[in-house]
Symmetry: D2
Subunit: 378 residues, 4 copies
């Protein structure tokens, strides 16, 4: 245990409450865990908020391989440092102190020793990666955010929130913002480039805001329902196309109609729908760039025509997996700087206590919520 | 007519013979055309060789849209300058003189005025492009290489052959070499990168040689029949995999077995088979690059899994259409420099007079020939 | 002469007035020229505005080589199409019609035939380039903007102004905006990158606005006098450093102080001062990018330390020469879209009739004006 | 101590001999050190060869800052694994076993935790880096290669030599090969590009071989004396220019004379001479690339003209600092594959026992040797 300057313990018995997906298919229930002992270099957070995202719905239904149930979900979270054991430093070399509000990279354990890390320099493909709230089970500790306490193992990358950045505003970005930032980096948006964004879920909405911040020209979001499209327009889209109002083959045509008949310079896929790939290739102009970031789970196959959809169009297709610390770090800075630029918080549809985690999952699954946030203090 | 310093006219009557695809489906017959009058800035070539490539087989069967029959095929050719009308210059600014051996870019008329040329800088997508031997019909003049004479319109990009470069050796590269060079540029091969090449036709073979010249590490060619694989090995492949001996799903596995279990750093598709795309994505390592250059005609669709084949692999897919002058120019320099490096001529399986053009097409179609060459002087 | 639908002739005698730099060193005087006859494909503009930029001051003093005096200066201008001879099209393929407000690329005659254009694809280094208002003398026609009429030769790249874009607002961008856009493209600004900009002249100010539109993080402008720094702050700078208040060696230190001690991720040089190069290298962080765009004339040498300023810092230095049509075209679209984002017009300090062209030059030279504009109608 | 399966100890008393630079300015003497105890994760090498490079001469003269004397030099070495304490793995995940011949990355301790490592992804600028034979003093252990034994701390990146790769052949590459590989990567050599290489020391010679392996067109090496130029020609140069036979201002001219009057597409500086920078900028073509890799110590300033040498030429200048594991790993693979392509060993002029280390330094300094190798077993 640390230096004991912590009087925020969850209850008198030193027990911590967390919401747990017990097994694939559920149920979701609140359980109690003992307050963790900190090994040297570790820290404990008092959780302020944690996210409910589409991945958590997949976790509930057991759609991801290699997940150790029972599981405390919540990969992106924000909290107050409760204690540390020894000096813990952030990426800027500053010591992280109790009382500070911080977030952390859910991906932990990137080895920096393997061929992928050191030779290919593709660290998001490092086989040693473990992910808070996804690949760590509840038996390994408080390693998910739907919990009063989060245990930060030694080596977890901690990013303090700038004072100007409200924790709830940070959650509006959530995991979608660094994911979208990685995709936008891959897209290499030049000033004035037209950008089509497929999908109006959190990643699509964050990609919209980032495309606008990058100086894109015409930005077209294709999604549904209208409520989400309204958020897209508020976050910088010029046009919002309701996909439910168009047959799939009409969607590329609609984008061409808004881009001098040529298609978008850049299209960013943020849907999770396999069939979106065919549409996306077709709504991108010849010689343009197509970024695929939404296919995080296996939702089936898609049929494309490699002559017309790839070769003749001279396309660049850039698939984008995962994030690293740089994306999280920069996302935090971006949100702090641009906290007034957009009404970010409109992305958050609801705040739920631990006891209502199952409701949060249902609201996200049914698209009643754009994004739900768990507040373990509520 | 030019300044008349030409005594090589095709026959006493000033008539020129050419092989013509009369209509989609054939026949192919030799016809006579009047010797052309040169407008200012134009030149006439006495044809030495012209190529028979897979595209010509497609032309015979009417598989390309917008082709004006009857047609004199032959897009890549080499000849002796017979005459010029006024000063004609090459890209280095040197005057092109009668008697010189030259080739020229089949693509003509790139406008350098449109949005694709000037803003997108994607000149291979310029809508004004016309192509010798493909989109110019016989009624527009001697604008294909299967002819005793080729009429070079003003503005055609002429590239003289260095003295060291034998015209028949040049034909071994043919249109496949600059096409493969464009693909290799897109692939950005770093020293030591492993490269898988799908296809052992002319483009696949030239990509093999260029990957070797680029300092690739392990090079694996997947193709058939064995005779072509032998050529691949002679042109620099380390491994040649007979695709007829493996089920499609075994081919990625075979490549992984030769690349530390990871898949190739770079895969280059040169097949024309839609199903090759799925295999190619799967034989490329996570974070690797996949270049699609073989899908020049619409041969149907392919089904892929966007989660497993794109997103999770964090792939770059780079489709590659057409060539421009830079590729032809550099291909000529490369062949001249490396004329002894590889047994290039083994690519040429046969030389045919104009009267046997139909046989040449058949031999290419039946894969009896790797590459056939038309010699109008034979 | 064209089809005669023009009743805006400059005077009853068909004579056109223009301001002329008679010889290196001056004087500058207003002269009359005959109304030009239009060759096919040409157009004539009734000039609305033309620019007075730093290059014009160099022209006055004879500091550029190969300039044919007497000269009508004015390379970037905007005007109303007075007449055309035959169909003249813009880069989008639309016919340019009399009455439309247009601008045009000052660079004319890029050959698209030479090694630089076609092989190196470095068209801004094409040796055939001629430049309106700089390398065309008055004896060759009305080929500069300080004139009631501008003669647009066939092949000049014309860009119509969108209706929303006021011609005077367009002049606020002037030649500095596409120049800065080229530099910003070279800089590859990623979201959140810190950017230092050396110089608060028109190019530095436009680079500031474009860095802000690109989503840069901290933007620091180093310049003088305070009036220009105020404009920089209005155009998006976070910090404006008065160089007159600091010794040269203190400037890199000042930038490091604003960038976590590391220096700027990207520095853009827009000064024309050789010594700025040494300072700029030193204010850029290790592994950062330094773009050199301000050294348009030879103002002398600079001493650097290649170990400390280059090698050990692992810098990228990207020098940037000239613009092409893409930069002008995109600059016009950007200004139209962002016409309300910044108070662009604060860049323009004065409007001058032809008769006061010499005053305009003096005000620019003495830095009394940020930018002066010639209005031949005034 | 490890599991004791080691019977190759240096002497009966368990003492190890090493050559030591006692202080800046020397002397160099052989000293005895106790056999090290291995902490868990560490390994000990029986040294086969270690390198004497230009940096060691700088170390002798005290020209590098922050070096802790007395010092055992030798940053790149090859040895036989004598023992390990626990499992030690290479970057491919294979366990490193006693008896294997291995090399290792001299750079140790890159933190993978700081802003440079994780956000800028410029790990060669990580402030935690320590370097064997340079920044580790003899008091910290056997952390340099001029020693019978080398102590490999936990986390040192070990690369086994493929069986086909003779240890002495490996030393011919030495530290120069991965350094040159980093520079060649930065140069992005395309097939057929002309390359000028300034300097005929080890880095210049390795850059020559790598440019040739990358498929460069004309390769021009500028150096001295003739003996080294002969090696350059053997390693792939087309032309070798004796710099002692030309005034500095004639050297760019000589390169232009061999590159169609334009200058090299790419120039790579490998000299350590500040004045080479000015020459190098001037021998590179407009729009070309200049890589600076030779300025590893501060040898003074250079004067350039930023207008003519940078801006007007539209150059890319890419400075290149240090290496990481990827360069060493790939260098080993490249040498193994291309061991017969070039007479690599001609680079090694002499082999020296520990007792003659001072002679080795002198021969390198006086350029009698291209490269000297220490053999502690001799």
């Amino acid at each position: 245990m640390g230096d004991g300057n912590d009087n925020s313990k969850a209850d008198a018995n030193g027990m911590v409450k967390a919401a747990v997906i017990v097994a694939p298919g559920g149920p979701v229930e609140v359980r109690s865990f003992p307050e963790p002992e900190l090994e040297p270099g570790a820290a404990a957070l008092e959780t302020l908020y944690s996210e409910v995202c589409g991945t958590d719905v997949h976790l509930l239904h057991g759609r991801l391989a290699g997940v150790p149930y029972p599981l405390i979900p919540g990969h992106i979270s924000v909290g107050r440092v409760a204690e540390t054991n020894g000096r813990v430093r952030d990426v800027d070399g500053r010591e992280v102190l109790p009382g500070e509000i911080v977030t952390f990279l859910d991906v932990h354990g990137t080895c920096h020793s393997c061929w992928y890390c050191l030779v290919a320099k593709a660290s998001t493909r490092c086989p040693s990666r473990r992910v808070y709230g996804i690949t760590y089970g509840a038996e390994e500790g408080l390693l998910g955010g739907w919990s009063e306490r989060i245990y930060l193992k030694p080596g977890v990358r901690i990013v303090p929130l700038p004072e100007a950045l409200d924790p709830l505003l940070y959650m509006a970005g959530g995991c979608a913002l660094p994911t979208a930032l990685h995709a936008i980096d891959r897209a290499e948006v030049r000033l004035g480039a037209s950008v089509a964004i497929q999908g109006s879920g959190p990643v699509g909405l964050m990609a919209t805001a980032l495309a606008r911040l990058s100086g894109a020209g015409t930005i077209i979001v294709l999604g549904a329902p209208q409520k989400r499209l309204d958020v897209a327009l508020a976050l910088g889209a010029d046009h919002a196309i309701d996909i439910d109002a168009l047959a799939p083959e009409q969607r590329p045509e609609a984008v061409r109609g808004l881009t001098s008949g040529r298609g978008a310079d850049i299209t960013i896929e943020c849907t999770g729908e396999p069939s979106a790939i065919r549409e996306g290739l077709r709504m991108t102009r010849d010689g343009g760039t197509y970024v695929v970031v939404g296919q995080y789970t296996d939702a089936g196959d898609v049929t494309i025509n490699p002559h017309a959809d790839l070769n003749r169009k001279h396309l660049d297709v850039r698939a984008c997996w995962g994030i690293d610390l740089s994306h999280l770090y920069r996302a935090v800075q971006l949100l702090a700087r641009h906290r007034e630029t957009f009404p970010w918080r409109t992305v958050i549809s609801g705040e739920y206590p631990l006891s209502r985690a199952a409701d949060a999952l249902r609201d996200v699954e049914d698209r009643r919520a754009v994004k739900a946030v768990i507040n373990p203090r509520a």
